[in-house]
């Protein structure tokens, strides 16, 4: 018994290296950031006073930060919902394992292995106002009047930006739904067919409830990923025109690099963290309540 418990202690050492790296390079800085957010530190001097929640009131009364929060929420809700609609529709359409469908799956998934950096430059080129692909194409087919300054028009820029993650991630969401569809036992589909249900009833009462684990996964992953989005907006619009596409990750970046005000930046970062954690946990709670098991 003594020998056993002694060798058991080795197990604690197993966790140690990963835990040390993770705590030191991720969790410790996070708490440090929380502390900065309650000081008046500008990032360079050695002067640092504790100011409580003052920075939070400051950033929350800044109309630019409020716009940034609003855009972050619009982006997250729209991208999460639409990427799931697209991904689920694609999965249902290519579900049958034929050679043709395999080719479609590969094509749909391809953008997901590319860097957001690459994708952003490709779409910046697509959207460019004068020499851009979309506008050139529109005028080539005589629809030049439909041409837009896709990224330069404040009313249009956020929509143009949000299209890009949908384009890139639709196929990725599809893959998860396909895995979920394969896991549905055949007998449920057969039972429904014998009962003579139509397509909509079948989807509503058989396929969708059994797809809930995949749906939960996709929703939570898309929500977290959308809150964290950076490269697309940083490269395509850098938050502009004006503040029309500014999101929280960009606000933090600007407070770090361009006009270093570490205390304000840390407060915005803390708000972002609270949003991500709160939203993904609530979402997880609601969605897992809807999961069923027919066995």
């Amino acid at each position: 018994m003594y020998a056993r418990s002694r060798s058991e202690r080795v197990l604690y050492l197993f966790v140690l290296p990963a835990m040390a790296v993770y705590l030191f390079f991720y969790i410790f800085p996070m708490f440090q950031g929380l502390y900065y957010s309650m000081t008046d530190w500008n990032g360079f001097g050695t002067v640092m006073h504790f100011v409580g929640l003052k920075n939070y009131w400051h950033v929350l009364s800044d109309p630019h930060v409020l716009t940034s929060i609003g855009n972050t929420f619009i982006y997250t809700v729209v991208v999460t919902i639409l990427s799931n609609v697209i991904g689920l529709a694609l999965a249902l359409m290519v579900e049958k394992r034929t050679r043709e469908n395999n080719i479609f799956r590969t094509i749909f998934f391809t953008p997901a292995v590319l860097s957001p950096v690459v994708i952003s430059f490709v779409w910046k080129y697509m959207y460019a106002p004068n020499s851009g692909v979309i506008n050139t194409f529109l005028s080539a087919v005589g629809l030049g009047s439909l041409g837009q300054d896709w990224l330069g028009n404040p009313g249009l820029a956020l929509s143009s930006v949000m299209f890009v993650p949908l384009w890139q991630w639709g196929g990725n969401v599809m893959i998860v739904y396909l895995a979920g569809l394969i896991n549905i036992p055949m007998q449920y589909h057969e039972a429904a067919r014998i009962d003579g249900v139509n397509y909509v009833q079948h989807f509503r009462h058989v396929t969708l409830p059994l797809l809930m684990p995949a749906l939960t996964f996709n929703f939570v992953i898309s929500t977290i990923g959308s809150f964290k989005t950076f490269a697309f907006i940083f490269i395509m619009t850098n938050g502009g025109p004006g503040w029309s596409t500014e999101v929280l990750t960009l606000t933090v970046y600007n407070y770090t690099i361009y006009s270093p005000q570490f205390a304000y930046g840390s407060a915005v970062a803390a708000l972002l963290t609270i949003f991500v954690v709160l939203f993904s946990l609530v979402e997880l709670k609601i969605l897992t309540r809807g999961e069923v098991s027919y066995s």
Binding site: L11, T110, V122, W167
Partner: protein, 285 residues
């Protein structure tokens, strides 16, 4: 795999045509932007001024040659290989090591709470740690403008996902395996690498693919930590190159294509493993 829903025959043919057209249109929407950026890379500078949709008269590889040279492509590629490769290896070794006790001793309070501590990292945005990390790496540890700098940060960022996947997988392995090896007098260390690790192969594939896509393609961490050219990984190089050559689309897009090509080829060769690996992770998770 039979189709889930059967429809009567004439209906099926009509809906089949409709379905196929929708899929074809969507495939075009995906492929068109990816293919159109190849056009300017073969155009000469004079030709590109005539408009982007003019087809190159002959295949002109000089843009690629110039882009290769001026972006120091090989250096960037090497840096990316070092950063991605080292992170992946350390990630799998440290991740498996940490997940083993958490997986087989799930009832232990300390292991249980370490699992939750790691899971928090799945939600934490990089921006939450960016400012303190910038300070820590730059002024305390002097790890900015080194390759180990981003490797450590990436390791901390990718461990939560690996530990989540590894732990879930280890929990499905029957405890009899452990009991049998304890009776044989096997140490925990040998038990992990010789008995458990081979069983973890499918989930290891998922972890490697998932992390590889992120590591190879990220530019935010190096953007923060590296500003000397000879240490920049590939995506940061592309970003900087586009800034410097924003008026020369031909060159800029050549670098873009070059940067995307290796990973795209890897994906096309291993697409079955990629897609199966990623779906395995999603279902197990």
């Amino acid at each position: 795999m039979a189709s889930a829903i059967q429809v009567s025959r004439p209906n099926m043919r009509r809906s089949g045509i409709f379905l196929r057209s929708v899929l074809l249109i969507y495939a075009l929407v995906i492929l068109f932007p990816l293919l159109i950026v190849i056009l300017p890379t073969f155009q000469s500078v004079q030709q590109s001024s005539q408009g982007i949709l003019s087809f190159p008269k002959q295949l002109n590889f000089s843009n690629y040659a110039n882009a290769w040279e001026q972006s120091h492509f090989l250096t960037a590629f090497r840096n990316s290989l070092i950063i991605t490769g080292s992170t992946l290896i350390l990630n799998v070794v440290l991740g498996a090591l940490a997940s083993f006790p958490i997986g087989i001793r799930g009832h232990n309070r300390l292991f249980k709470s370490s699992f939750y501590v790691f899971i928090v990292g799945l939600m934490l945005p990089f921006q939450a740690v960016m400012i303190p990390l910038y300070h820590l790496m730059g002024r305390v540890l002097k790890l900015t403008n080194t390759l180990p700098g981003p490797i450590f940060v990436y390791l901390a960022m990718t461990l939560p996902l690996s530990i989540f996947f590894f732990t879930q997988f280890i929990r499905t392995i029957p405890p009899e395996i452990e009991e049998a090896s304890v009776l044989d007098g096997c140490s925990y260390f040998r038990m992990l690498w010789q008995i458990y690790f081979p069983l973890l192969r499918p989930i290891t594939a998922t972890i490697v693919i998932e992390n590889m896509i992120f590591l190879w393609n990220d530019f935010l961490v190096p953007l923060l930590l590296i500003d000397v050219d000879r240490l920049k990984p590939i995506m940061l190089t592309v970003y900087v190159f586009f800034g410097n050559y924003s008026n020369e689309w031909n060159l800029a897009f050549s670098v873009l294509v070059l940067s995307a090509l290796p990973f795209l080829l890897l994906f096309l060769v291993l697409q079955k493993q990629f897609i199966e690996g990623l779906s395995a992770g999603a279902v197990k998770g």
